[in-house]
Each structure stands twice: as C-alpha cells, then as structure tokens.
Amino acid sequence: MDFFLQLLVNGVCVGLLYGISAMGFVMIFKSSSVLNFAHGELLALGAFFFLALITWAKLPVLIAFILTLVGCFILGFLIERFFLRPLIGEKLIFVIMLTVGLAAMFKGLILLIWGGNLHTYPDFLPEAMALKLGSIYIAPVYSATLVISVLFLVLFGLFFKKSSQGIYMRSVADNQKAALSLGVHVRRVFALSWAIAALVASMSGIVLGIINGVNVHDLSSIGLKVFPVVILGGLDSIGGAIIGGIIIGLLETFTGGYISPSLRDVVPYIVLVFILLVKPYGLFGLVEIERV
C-alpha cells in the first residue's frame, strides 16, 4: 500500500512537471496553431540561461531567475519575428519542419556552448518546503512545482478571461480572419504568445533542471513527451494540459513500478494512439467542424 501511495504521489509530481512543460506549448498552439517541435529546446535554453547566470555570473537566485524570464521573453519574440512570421498561411508541413529545424539549431548551439554533460544547480530551495505525509516524502522541489503550476494556472486563467490581450489571443485562436476584420492586431498576438510561451518554457526548464539536473538530451526529450500530454488534454486547453500531464505521469510511474521500467517511456505514446483513435480532439479539446 505504501508503495502504491508513493507511486501515486510521484506520478502526480512528475505529471505536474509535464503539465507545466506543456503549458507553453499549448499557449503557442492556442493562438497560432503551430505545433512546436522546438519546445524541449526552449525548456533547455531557459535552464541553461539560468545556469549561466547563477554559476558563471554568480548572480543571486532571484535576480538570475527574473533575468532568465526576461531573456526568454525576448527570445520568444525574436523567434516569432524572424522565423515564424514569414510562414503565416503556409502549409502545415513547412511550419512543423521549421520548428524541427529550429530544434536542431538550438540543440547544436547548446551542445556547442555547454556540452552534453549533466550540470546541476547549487541547492537553493529550503528543506522546510518538503512535505511529509505519513510515510510518504515529497521533496521540496515538488512542492515548489505544485505551487508554481497552480499559480500559473490561475494567472493564465485570469489572463485569458479578463485581460484584453488574452481575449485577443482567444479570438485569434478561434477565427483568425474574423479577429483580423474586427481590428485585432494578429501579428502582435502571435508575437506575444510566442514570447509568453518561451517565458513559461524557460520557467519549466528551470524547475526540471532543479529536479533532474540540466542536460540537453533529457530536456529535449521532455519536449517530445509533451505531445501525449497535450493530445490527452486537448491541444488548446491549458487546464487540460495539467490534467493530461498528471494522467501521463501516473501512467508512467505505475507502469514503471508494476510492469516493467523499460515500458515506461513508450506507454504514453501507446495511450496516445488509442486516444487519437477514440477521441481525436482529446479530452478537453475543441472539436473542429470542417467545411469544404
């Protein structure tokens, strides 16, 4: 029973991580319907910026964190401006392959600068944040993750419901042409959504880096694990991303714990195929109606 509970808690923790990693991905998809294959590399870039600021520049944690977020915000903006904007209205395959190309570029760049080894952040989270529920131990990072993901969920919820930019974003996602004709600055919305997505990605990258150490290969493979998560939750639902993340996290840890550890990494994709066959738009996704 203890084993089960520990797996349950681990699964939820890992799942929350997947969830917040997926949030940035969903942001981009929601406003510009771009499937971002470079998401894992965005996570890695954030994590490595933070690493550079904290170990090489020796800045205090808080300042380094804020600088990383600002840096990634600008980076996201630039990516949209230089690479994605020329492709507005182009075929899906070009957009997908562009993000794949960007992923290869970023990965090469990170490997060139930092190498493929595992780096770690110095410890800075207080041990007091650790939770103990009976025999189950929750490490401080995981409780920090919980706090961050709930915080961001609420922030995003408010942003999309209340702020004018958020409403513009939803309108663009819903119908680009209609939004354009009603005077929404669609290009600005795209740029902003990429910038925010890169910001969120860098934040999740830092959290992942605290837990697993910073390694390009691990972080970019998380970028691929985002796909089952968002498909499960529906590609355009931010709350769904968190729930999808938790389901995938639970699935992984239980498969790893009870069936076989090697099956762990492939189970999300098997589930993904079945979900796509049964409910193609995910659990919380919007069903698209097509006309010829």
Binding site: L35, L92, M97, L111, G115, F227, P228, L272, V292
Partner: protein, 356 residues
C-alpha cells in the same frame, strides 16, 4: 523516324496524354539516357571507393526519400515514422535472410512488403485524423516501433544486432562498394521509374486530389481512406526496401540508427529537394548526404586545429546546428526546394543566349 522535337514557344497541348508526358522534348529523353550511361558505365569505373560509398548512401537514402515524397508531397500526409519504417525493412531483411534463409533478391522485396503492412497499421489513424493530429500519431508510431525493435529480443536480438550473410546470386557474391553500386542504382532507377509512372496514373491523381482537398476528393467519389492507406503502404514499401538494401550493404543491423532524427532527416530530404517532385527527392537525398559528409569532414578538420583543441571546444554539435539551419533557410527562402532551383536554372538556359 519522327522529328526531333524542341520546346514549343507556347502551350500547344491538345489532349491529356500530352499533358501527362514525362519528357516534353526528345532532348530531355536523350539527356536522361546519357546520364544513365554515365552513371552505370563511367562513374563506377573511375571514382574512388570512398566516393562510391557516398554515392551508395545517397542511392539508398533517395529510395526512402522518394517513398516519403509520395506520402508527404503527393498525398499530403506527414509521417514522422519513416526512420522506424526504414528500420523495420532492415530488420525484416536480416531476419528473413538468417532465419528463413531467403536469398537477397527475395528477401529485399519481401522486407518491403512487410514494412508496407506495418506502414498500413500505422496509417490506420489517418481514417479519422489529419494534419497535425496524424503527424503526432505517426510520431507515436515511431517510438512504439523503436521500442519493439530494441526489446523484442527473441526476434531482433536486442542491442546485439543481427549479422547478415552476404548477398549472392548463384555463385556470384555481391560484396564491396562497386557491386553494391550497381545493385543500389539499378533498384533506384527502377523505383524512380515506378514512382513517376504511378503518379501520373489514376492512383497518383487520387493522391493529389486528397492532398489538395480531402473532403472535396471524397465528394468526387474517391474512397479516401483506401487511398490514404495505399499511400502509406507504398511509401513504407519504399522505406522498407531502402532499409533492406542498407542492411545488406552494412552487413549488420542494430536498432540505434532508426531513431526520430533519421525520420527528420528523411523529411528534410523531401522538403529541401522539393515536395511533390520525384527527382526532387533524389536531389534532397544528395544534398543531405553530402552535407552530412561535408560537416563530418569539417568538424574532423576543426578538431585537429591546435587552437580549437586547446580551448576544449567540442565542434561535433556544429553538424546538428548547420543541419537545422539548412532546413530553416530552405523553408524560408525556397520552400519548393532544389527541384525549383533546378527548374529556374534550366529555364534561364532555355533561351540562351537570347534571354531577356
């Protein structure tokens, strides 16, 4: 003997047969003939073994790229699983050759057929999904096949890999770069001929109709699910065939090369070469393979320069960076690929020396 025809100075086509013709002029026919003579009688006898090795790799990649182009360029379905299909073909050939004892000329097509069946299974979601959802489904297919290849120990011998007996016809053994050159390029020419001709038949037109608008195609009476599956089957047959050739050429098969980055490389070949263009796939395969070789050479060269070695910089990731950069630049600057560049160059020469 009929008159040797040149390019007309306008569109004087009178029926569909003229529209469907492969060679507009006899000049093109002669050029292709000359090229084939050069390819089979001059090149293998003159170039170095290393060049032959590169050419062989290009040939194998080109077969797979043509297959993927049928799927992406003509049918408009994006598959991220072709690296895995290539692997299925390689393993199928290896298992057929070692367990069943088939000769290579049976094992390679059989491997293609097995891969086509696997491809159809991966293609089943295309009945309900399209666009990016289908892309994600094929991504899942890539990971699942990769897992099976590594963990189905009793069949694939896991990480140990399988060693393949040499390819033999009667007493004559196909070994070494030169004899493989003939085998690979004979297959490539055959597969190209087949693909070009299928694409101007009823099947090819159905594929193109599905690409341009699948709902409308269905309305016109094309059973789209059947044709989508057919497209998956054809394209994975090509991938499996190429994989089987690769397995024989490399002698031993392990699961590592058949990962997602191989799939990405194949898609890059299709995009850089030119989508919806069969010769384009060959251009793309040539470009990517040469780029890989060139970058390998350059990074090897840079590693040996004193300054770089002493600064502790590892130049190997440069390869990945340039690979990504070339994809991005092609998409942004020439989305129709090398085939389009080639067309522009040719049409500049058409009116030479009186171009305007």
């Amino acid at each position: 003997m009929r008159k040797f025809s040149f390019h007309p100075c306008g569109n004087y086509r009178e029926d569909y047969a003229q529209e469907l013709t492969i060679f507009d002029t006899d000049y093109g026919r002669v050029c292709v003939g000359l090229f084939l003579v050069l390819l089979f009688f001059v090149i293998p006898l003159t170039v170095s073994p290393y060049m032959l090795y590169i050419l062989n790799t290009i040939g194998i990649a080109a077969i797979a790229a043509i297959g993927l182009n049928i799927l992406i360029g003509y049918t408009g379905l994006i598959s991220l699983g072709h690296g895995a299909f290539f692997g299925v073909g390689a393993y199928a050939a290896a298992i057929l050759a070692t367990r069943v004892g088939l000769d290579f000329y049976l094992a390679i097509p059989a491997a293609g057929v097995i891969t086509a069946l696997v491809g159809m299974i991966i293609g089943i979601p295309s009945g309900r999904l399209k666009g990016l959802y289908l892309t994600i489904a094929t991504l899942a297919g890539q990971f699942i096949i990769e897992y099976v290849l590594i963990h189905w120990d009793s069949m694939t011998q896991g990480t140990m890999g399988i060693t393949i007996p040499p390819a033999k016809i009667m007493q004559w053994e196909i070994a070494g770069d030169k004899s493989f050159f003939f085998l690979i390029f004979f297959c490539l020419v055959l597969m190209t001929w087949f693909a070009v001709n299928v694409m101007r038949s009823k099947y090819g037109r159905a594929f193109i109709a599905i690409r341009d608008n699948d709902r409308a195609a269905e309305g016109m009476g094309i059973p789209i699910f059947k044709y989508k599956l057919l497209s998956f089957a054809m394209s994975s047959f090509y991938a499996g065939f190429a994989g089987a050739l690769w397995a024989y050429y490399m002698v031993s098969v392990t699961a590592e090369p058949f990962n997602l980055s191989l799939s990405v490389e194949f898609i890059a070949m299709v995009i850089i070469g030119g989508m919806g263009n069969i010769p384009g796939a060959i251009f793309g395969a040539t470009f990517i393979t040469l780029l890989n070789e060139l970058l390998r050479y350059i990074t090897g060269f840079l590693m040996n320069i004193g300054v770089v070695t002493s600064s502790g910089l590892n130049m190997a990731p440069l390869r990945e960076f340039v690979f990504g950069l070339s994809i991005v630049l092609f998409i942004l600057l020439e989305p129709r690929g090398i085939a389009e560049l080639w067309r522009i160059i040719r049409s500049n020469f058409r009116l030479w020396p009186f171009s305007y």
